[in-house]
């Protein structure tokens, strides 16, 4: 059991000391954070929580301070604020808190910085590429509107649409356009319209207008959130961004297919007035009718010209003219033919003369050459003859020398049997047979009386 000890503090004493430490060590501060859980009591005091990503701080703005504020518009959930005051302890609950004396929408500078960073990032990711932009339909069957269901915006838009196109279909996707969860709500609505009202759906939405009325940068912030930009970028239905503001563009304006400066302006440009379409169609119809009638007029005129033309009405005259023309042509043809004949004949005659001359020269030439040949030949034949004659004489002499009868002149004789066989040996003639003996000047016919053989 703990004995009474001067070091033991009562809760009040401890809390008091903490309060003192905080007041001394920290005291007056300016903090920045986002407001959440804001509550205003009937006493006029306002309680809220200031937070950032990792921590939170209770805050109180007493009624007396609040009335001194120039602008308490920033006292809203989700608002980024800069609050100046005293760090203190609310002893009754053992909580430390800031007693706010000054508060303002802090964000502008910081928001602008975030805006620029995100703009750069989305631009680099290609979300603003012109190539990705879709054309708006000429005549949407249904216009999807993503905005707050309360307030003037939807009312004004419907008024504009009713004026321009009295029977236009509109489907409102009600969303929160500012504060916590606004961006998510807008993105969800755009996606929902794509999923549930796409091509072929009975409530097909052909174009979406996403927007809100004017406000401060903080008010419009939802339209600068990446989640909204992505939903618009991914939308297969063309999106018109319509955030009412004067100066800068919201990021949704860059990523949307078309930007309108206000929701009413978006309603103006989402569809042309029906009357305009009707007059365009009327013009087309009139123009077509005019062109057709004009063509008919031209054809009728041509027909009339044909009907009254001299050819059809006085065909003989026309024929006479043609006949004359034929005659003329015939004459020209005749002249032409005659000229041609003369020309050809002249050429022929000139050619003949030339040819004859050439022929005569050629014949003379041939004769001369033939004469030459003939002399040569005669000479050749003559020589040849002489040579032949010499040969013949030579052979003759040879023959004379070799003639066996020549030998008879020298006293020899030739004996043959009566059958003509030459008797070379005594055996060739039998005694009693007849032999013929050839002498130089005749022949002896004798009978062999005896045969003697030489030893």
């Amino acid at each position: 059991m703990l004995s009474p000890d001067p070091r033991v503090l009562s809760i009040s004493e401890l809390t008091h000391r903490i309060k003192g430490v905080l007041a001394e060590e920290i005291g007056s501060v300016v903090v920045q954070g986002e407001i959440s859980n804001i509550k205003r009591y009937s006493s006029g005091h306002t309680y809220f929580v200031l937070k950032d990503e990792r921590a939170q701080l209770n805050a109180v703005l007493f009624a007396g301070e609040r009335v001194k504020l120039k602008d308490d518009g920033c006292l809203k959930d989700g608002q980024l604020v800069r609050a100046g005051g005293q760090i203190s302890v609310f002893e009754g609950r053992g909580q430390y808190q800031i007693i706010v004396r000054k508060i303002e929408g802090a964000g502008v500078g910081q928001l602008l910085e975030r805006y620029e960073q995100l703009k750069k990032k989305l631009s680099e990711n290609g979300l603003f590429d012109q190539a990705h932009k879709q054309p708006l339909p000429l005549l949407p069957r249904r216009i999807g509107v993503v905005t707050s269901p309360s307030g003037a915006v939807i009312h004004d838009m419907l008024n504009v649409l009713r004026r321009r196109f009295p029977n236009m279909n509109v489907l409102l996707a009600p969303v929160k356009v500012q504060g916590e969860g606004a961006a998510e709500s807008i993105a969800r609505a755009v996606r929902w319209l794509n999923e549930s009202c796409g091509e072929g759906s009975p409530r097909q939405v052909d174009v979406i207008i996403a927007g809100r009325g004017g406000g401060s940068l903080e008010d419009l912030w939802a339209f600068n959130e990446e989640i909204v930009a992505r939903a618009i970028y991914e939308s297969r239905i063309p999106v018109i961004s319509a955030v009412g503001h004067e100066v800068d563009y919201a990021l949704s304006d860059f990523v949307a297919d078309v930007r309108a400066p206000t929701p009413s302006a978006a309603a103006e440009l989402v569809v042309r007035p029906r009357a305009e379409f009707e007059s365009l169609l009327q013009q087309c119809a009139d123009q077509m009718k005019r062109l057709l009638l004009q063509r008919c007029d031209i054809l009728r005129h041509r027909l009339r010209r044909s009907v009254y033309s001299p050819v059809l009405n006085h065909p003989d005259q026309a024929l006479a003219r043609y006949a004359q023309r034929v005659d003329h042509l015939e004459m020209r043809l005749r002249h032409a033919v005659r000229r041609e004949i003369l020309r050809v004949r002249g050429r022929y005659e000139r050619s003949c003369a030339g040819f004859n001359h050439l022929r005569e020269r050629k014949i003379d030439d041939l004769c001369g050459r033939l004469g030459g040949y003939s002399e040569n030949m005669q000479r050749c034949v003559h020589t040849r003859c002489l040579r032949l004659r010499d040969s013949v004489e030579h052979y003759e002499r040879q023959l004379l020398l070799l003639n066996p009868l020549k030998i008879l002149e020298r006293g020899y004789s030739l004996t043959r049997t009566k059958d003509g066989l030459l008797v070379r040996s005594v055996a060739d003639a039998k005694p009693g047979s007849v032999v013929h003996t050839m002498l130089k000047d005749g022949k002896l016919i004798s009978e062999v009386s005896a045969v003697h053989t030489t030893d």
Binding site: P137, L138, L139, R141, R142, P149, I154, H155, L158, F165, P166, N167, M168, N169, V170, L171, L172, A173, P174, A189, W192, S196, R203, R274, F277, E278, L280, L281, Q282, C284, A285, Q287, M288, K289, L291, L292, R295, C296, L299
Partner: protein
């Protein structure tokens, strides 16, 4: 020209433009011109019908579940 598929409003307008242009060109035979004219008249009729067939339905999405949604007529702004 007989189109089996019904042309959209945009396609019809584009076709009308083309028809008028062709009729203006002076190269069309009368027969072709008459059929072009007839087609054009039909298209004008179709387009006018499309302009009128929109039923002026002003509706609002109501969400029942996290991703559910149906539409009801939007009365408070009419």
């Amino acid at each position: 020209m007989s189109e089996k598929k019904k042309l959209s409003f945009e396609e019809s307008l584009a076709r009308l433009d083309k028809i008028v242009e062709e009729m203006e060109s002076d190269k069309m035979e009368l027969d072709a011109m008459i059929s072009a004219f007839e087609e054009g008249q039909r298209l004008v009729g179709d387009c006018n019908a499309m302009l009128r067939e929109v039923e002026r339905k002003i509706e609002k999405v109501v969400r029942d579940g996290p991703d559910g949604g149906e539409t009801v007529p939007l009365k408070d702004v009419e």
